[in-house]
Symmetry: C2
Subunit: 157 residues, 2 copies
């Protein structure tokens, strides 16, 4: 099945939401890199939060973070030193994904979208692949804690 | 955040849908094992299809398959021998996930749920983890092509 490319007006709310969530929740400034169209089996970062969206447009949003970003974010949110990728780290990545997507969804209210629950993929060599015909937009970011990336696929239902 | 446990009446439509999809699309009989509550970081099978659901209930459904199940399913659907996990295999797992969730959603129409688009996780040592407070039900299956598993989390919105 072939879908239309994602509309650019769907992307800016996600970029703004990433910036706001990292600044307000983690006190981290982020620097955005060049957008790209994800195509194929590029390996993902070590931890990926996934949320599905459905409504007038539907799709998925992935927040891929390095281990250091995940651990640092968890330490900031909980005020505790983390030593391993445990449930606290999974919950922190799930919650960041949830807040980023929730913020963007609010700005895209004309699309009347509902969010599913986040799931979090953990694994050094995993890849999250979109079906053929979906062309997700990748938005790479750098922060003082390391790199992370948002990938957004959203097509008209 | 703590959610109520998944209702058992939400599970049967998924079991029926798995059986129907594997029989009609792949001509494969499946044998269901004992249901379990997924809790923690049990490693996933090599390929996982993920779809988000939202509506009166919301959550995620994961179809985890062994490499052999994924390759066999793709060969049956395409009528071609597969040698590697490529886009055809990803699409086949995404489409099976889509059909299983679509079939169950139709039987749960009172929940008025919408489906996102599938994404597919590929990687030998990945784990898909649900946030704390979500208690997904795991439904293991055996088929002549090998083992696979459906994991369903669905909570009232």
């Amino acid at each position: 099945m072939q879908y239309n490319p994602i509309k650019t007006e769907y992307i800016n709310p996600f970029i703004e939401s990433v910036t706001t969530v990292f600044k307000t929740m983690l006190s981290l400034d982020v620097r955005r890199g060049a957008l790209y169209i994800k195509d194929g089996f590029q390996p993902s970062l070590e931890i990926t939060g996934v949320i599905g969206l459905s409504g007038i447009a539907k799709g998925s949003v992935l927040l891929g973070v390095s281990k250091n970003v995940a651990m640092t974010a968890t330490e900031i949110l909980l005020g505790e030193k983390m030593t391993t990728i445990d449930h606290n780290v999974v919950d922190a990545v799930g919650e960041l994904t949830n807040m980023i997507v929730g913020g963007a969804k609010a700005k895209l209210e004309s699309l009347n979208m509902c969010m599913g629950l986040p799931t979090v993929v953990v694994g050094k060599n995993h890849t999250v692949v979109f079906p053929t015909g979906i062309r997700p937009i990748g938005i790479p970011f750098e922060s003082d804690a390391g790199p992370f990336c948002l990938e957004v696929s959203l097509v008209d239902s």
